[in-house]
Amino acid sequence: MKKTLWAVSICAGLLLAASAPAWAHHAFQAEFDQRKPVKLEGKVTDMEWINPHAWIHIDVKNPDGTVTNWMVECGSPNIMLRRGFTKRSLEVGSDIVVQGYQAKNGTMRANGSSVTFSDGKKLFVGGSNPDDPNGGKQ
């Protein structure tokens, strides 16, 4: 049984190599609730460049017209900087779309599994890519 599971994981790994999810330095499964997927569209109010992961704050308009401020957990500031993302890359007031999962404790926090501008452009890609085996600074 165990062997079969391994085999499945390996095949999945091969198929998803291009988009395979990564681990963070801590387990997101501990913090966020897989039963509570969220899609948040809102305006950036702040970005905290803190360790181990940065947090984006956004104002999200609710169906009843009220506004809720959500915090979205992002990658490590270090790698974001290395990927060419700077303090100026995300202005306050920018419209972004976040897909992730809400915190298990019910607070207005979510993980940013997918964070894009409203046109679908990814926030943290572009600039130098240090992982590019064919180029980059390494």
Partner: protein, 345 residues
């Protein structure tokens, strides 16, 4: 499952000739530079960018180097991953995983070295002694060590020291991980300083022959003393506490770690680390890491505890879920199960 293990499993090795692990040799005609005060100069930025699995896949046997085909395969997987990371637009069709996106990690460069462990010749960390096994099992009242994916979230101690932003331990601190590969060496007369970006370790290593601190003092990174053997910096570390280790084992009071650093070319640093802890492992083992200098690499402060909201969110989240009658198990495959329900196989 670690990324490196995943990589090791994905690699499909082909039959090839056996190669013995080669001792690091200096490039022909290369003379290592000296500092102004006459010590070999190891200073620089040495990020651990070579992507090498910790242990060798069993089917490679005693072969320490990949065949060109195997390396090519790893390179093509890496190129594919980098391509995915670099996509400018997110697909609106793709289901979003709870795991972070691929571009959150640095993937390193595939390397022909089959495993970081080079001795024993099978590239595997030797088995734990019965004492080493018993100690690991005794932690957390018999549940074993805290984990990245703990089976319960009742206390901060259910998580490992890395998740808790404390340390990765001396062995891991020198080796590749998910991101923050930086290692910096700075020297001054009588002292070598090694700084690791992940997660914010700095070792100040005296070279003046002073003895180790008293046996009663134990720390996460231990007590390091260095000396020169020709162009090689030899660092001996003792006084490690029993909270860190590697490969499932934890250092005992008998642990002695010996590191050898040698600049073998202008931009290459050979690094060997031998773990000798007869109380924990059945025999000593040696790790070899080839560092490549990157003068442009910048180490950023990784003050990991600064905003590690994970801990409070996880503990308060687990309590909230308990109120709903859901028992928390942090597992990448079986995320939650109802109270009293057995884990899915």
């Amino acid at each position: 499952m670690s990324r490196f293990l995943a990589l090791a499993l994905i690699a499909i090795p082909l039959a090839a000739q056996t190669a013995k692990p080669a001792a690091a040799k200096s490039a022909k005609g290369y003379t290592a530079p000296k500092t102004a005060w006459g010590d070999p100069d190891l200073q620089g930025q040495w990020p651990a960018t070579a992507n090498i699995p910790m242990q060798r896949p069993a089917n490679l046997g005693e072969r320490s180097t990949l065949t060109p085909e195997e390396l090519k395969q790893r390179q093509s997987q890496a190129a594919q991953a980098a391509e995915g990371d670099g996509e400018e637009f997110a697909s609106s069709e793709t289901a979003v995983s709870i795991n972070p996106p691929g571009y959150w990690v640095e993937r390193g460069k595939p390397h022909a070295q089959a495993s970081l462990v080079v001795d024993p010749p099978n590239g595997r960390i030797p088995p734990l002694t019965p004492e080493g096994q018993a100690y690991a099992k005794s932690l957390r009242n018999g549940l074993g060590p805290g984990s990245h994916f703990p089976e319960k979230v009742d206390t901060y101690e259910d998580f490992d020291f890395y998740s808790r932003c404390i340390t990765r331990g001396l062995v891991s601190s020198m080796l590749p991980t998910l991101y923050n590969f930086g290692n910096e060496i700075v020297q001054a007369p009588g002292v070598v300083v090694i700084r690791n970006e992940m997660i914010h370790e700095t070792r100040v290593i005296p070279l003046d022959g002073r003895p180790h601190v008293g046996k009663a003092l134990k720390t996460y990174i231990g007590d390091s003393r260095g000396h020169w053997e020709g162009d090689t910096l030899v660092v001996e570390t003792t006084n490690l506490n029993n909270k860190t280790g590697t490969g499932g084992g934890f250092f005992s009071d008998a642990a002695v770690l010996t590191e050898k650093f040698r600049r073998i070319a202008k931009d290459e640093l050979s690094y060997d680390l031998t773990v000798n802890d007869p109380k924990t492992w059945t025999k000593p083992f040696t790790i070899h890491m080839p560092y490549k200098e990157d003068p442009n690499y910048k180490i950023y402060e990784y003050a990991c505890h600064e905003g590690n909201y994970m801990m409070i969110d996880s503990l308060t989240g687990a309590r909230a879920l308990e109120k709903e009658g859901v028992q928390v198990k942090v597992d990448n495959n079986n995320f939650v199960r109802k109270a009293g329900e057995a884990p899915k196989k």
